[in-house]
């Protein structure tokens, strides 16, 4: 079990300040600020439409792809491995391409569609490595083999040669994680990485992510709607609702002493395994009004 409050260096690794993202006049994220420190797992929690995924895509500056979204205001300061700090909102495409997948990488919800169906798993990881590192194909392949081992893919040699459709959902998600870790990023953004998986497979992936974080020391931003997942992996939480930050703090504080009515309502509506122990009949949720004044 990890320490409840991780040690923090003075300066955050990633600092989002006053981020506002709009789509055709509709505000998807509004004046959001939070900091991410080295080795920290920060969960951004919210229900659909809360703006949590848009936040993740904004950090990668992927939010504008094919949409009319734009980052209207705010800064996202990122401390690069060489010590320099860059504002990702102002960075140009060339700079961003160097950062994406290399220093900040991302895994997505749907392991079914997040791998390219026409390439083998190995090929995709090799390409990701060669995009950022000046290595030969053979060296990249060796590196891919190592990350496959690191994410505990059984028979890594064989799996490298397989196509995504030959793999189960859990295995594909491991490949995605391998690809994300292949260049030793300092920040890993995981957008609902276990939502599409069955519960026993989800447990494996969560366990894996926890172990990998201990091994690599990468900071993780976990985007999720599942409070169970949050309770299991997060150090700190950002609760979002309707594009705004509702509450932020340490995972224990939020779960035990939530202050915002919305957080209270959210926590009251979660089915908690074991909460019915000793009760003979089914029982309704004791719901809290989420719009109650503080």
């Amino acid at each position: 079990m990890r320490a409840e409050t991780p040690l923090r260096s003075e300066t955050p690794l990633l600092s989002v300040q006053g981020l506002t993202v709009t789509f055709d006049g509709f505000t998807a994220v509004s004046e959001l600020s939070f900091d991410l420190y080295e080795g920290q797992t920060l969960a951004i929690v919210g229900e659909s439409g809360s703006g949590k995924s848009v936040t993740a895509l904004s950090i990668m500056r992927l939010v504008t792809l094919g949409t009319r979204a734009k980052i209207a205001e705010g800064q996202i300061f990122f401390r690069q491995p060489d010590g320099s700090t860059i504002d990702l909102v102002q960075a140009d495409e060339a700079e961003l391409r160097k950062i994406r997948g290399n220093q900040i990488s991302m895994i997505f919800q749907e392991p079914l569609t997040s791998l390219n169906p026409v390439y083998t798993a190995g090929n995709q990881v090799v390409e990701a490595i060669r995009l950022h590192q000046d290595v030969t194909k053979a060296e990249a392949y060796q590196r891919a083999f190592e990350v496959f081992e690191r994410v505990r893919i059984p028979e890594p040699k064989k799996r490298l040669k397989e196509y995504p459709h030959q793999m189960s959902g859990g295995m594909r998600q491991r490949v995605m994680i391998a690809m994300a870790l292949s260049c030793d990023p300092t920040v890993l953004i995981a957008d609902e990485p276990t939502t599409a998986l069955d519960v026993t497979i989800q447990a494996q992936i969560l366990g894996l992510m926890r172990a990998l974080q201990d091994e690599t020391g990468a900071a993780v931003i976990m985007i999720t709607h599942d409070m169970g997942v949050v309770a299991e992996v997060a150090d700190d939480i950002v609760v979002m609702r309707n594009s705004k930050l509702v509450e932020t703090g340490n995972v224990f504080d939020i779960f035990e002493k939530p202050t915002a009515p919305y957080t209270k309502a959210l926590l009251a509506s979660i089915p908690r395994l074991g909460s019915m122990t000793g009760k003979s009949q089914p029982e309704r949720f004791d719901l809290v009004d989420m719009d109650a004044p503080v």
């Binding site: 505990r152 859990g170 969560l206 169970g228 019915m276």
Partner: protein, 302 residues
């Protein structure tokens, strides 16, 4: 074992699908269970375990390849269209995706009133509107909502509309196939509360198909755990959750993340796959033998 009078009984129900490559999917293998009047029986399991197929078989959206389905003591296994009609009213299903199960070009009031028209209970006019309005109120919506279209509603409201539609013909059994899985947690809790309230007021029976054990723990009287098309453990909720006896049930319960950071679980770094119920021609799964370990609590022998 249960205090409930039996409403639906399923005996040795089987469903096989032929798949290309000379193989068969044994989706449901000799499943036997009962749903009592006013009771919620939850069927849990992971993808491919056959829980949804079982629901479809019972409501006869799929034709079983073996076994019997008894509704109120009547064998409905081989009934079709006309002879099935009166029984069909007694069983309704609510699906996972409320948006996909509503016609986007029809008002939601039409969707709720349609079963009444189809079954000749009401034709058009004030009486129909009155009943539809009543159903809307019953599920916590406003009467005026009937005029609106599915896209004007939130996911939770749409699921309420689907529940209203299911209730239109006064069913005795409502099959909920992952009905709350796609909803946001706060909405999910409200819909679950509504379902429990309706059960109390109307004496409904639920066959609650779900992969979410935490939800099941809230709503179920009894629980059946399915694995590879077979029931491996069946019993009262407290027995399944407090005294799980089959190793698969334990594994399933261990895997659920608990929404409490003080209860973080150690996760072994294993890799595993969910097995497939696909069997080559000439092979078939071995049948499990259920043993009653305590009253009403059945566990497959391992």
């Amino acid at each position: 074992m249960t205090d409930f009078e039996t409403l639906v009984e399923v005996k040795d129900l089987c469903k096989e699908f032929s798949v290309p490559g000379k193989a068969k999917i044994h989706a449901v293998e000799h499943v036997s269970l009962k749903v009592g009047k006013g009771e919620t029986l939850a069927v849990v399991g992971e993808s491919g375990c056959g829980k949804s197929t079982l629901a479809f078989l019972i409501i006869k959206l799929l034709e079983s390849t073996g076994g019997q389905i008894l509704l109120d003591g009547h064998d409905i296994t081989h009934l079709h269209n006309k002879s099935m009609r009166e029984y069909r009213q007694k069983m309704q299903i609510i699906f996972q995706d409320p948006f996909a199960s509503l016609d986007p070009r029809r008002s939601v009031g039409y969707a709720v009133g349609e079963p009444l028209i189809v079954h000749g209970e009401e034709s058009k006019g004030a009486a129909l509107n009155e009943r539809v309005g009543g159903l809307f109120e019953r599920v916590g919506l406003e009467r005026d909502h009937a005029q609106q279209y599915p896209h004007q509603f939130s996911g939770g409201q749409r699921q309420r509309v689907c529940i209203a539609r299911a209730l239109a013909l006064h069913p005795e059994l409502v099959i909920a196939d992952e009905s709350v899985s796609a909803l946001d947690v706060s909405v999910q809790a409200q819909v679950i509360n509504l379902m429990m309230e309706l059960q109390q007021d109307m004496g409904l029976s639920y066959l609650f198909i779900s992969h979410d054990l935490a939800v099941v723990e809230r709503i179920a009287h009894r629980v059946a755990v399915m694995y590879l098309g077979q029931i491996v453990e069946l019993g009262p909720r407290s027995a399944i959750f407090e005294n799980p006896s089959h190793s698969y049930t334990k594994r399933l319960l261990d895997a659920v993340p608990i929404a409490d950071p003080r209860q973080r679980r150690e996760r072994p770094l294993l890799t595993g796959e969910i097995p497939s119920p696909r069997w080559e021609h000439g092979t078939s799964p071995e049948l499990v033998n259920l043993v009653e370990v305590e009253p009403g609590h059945f566990v497959a022998e391992e």
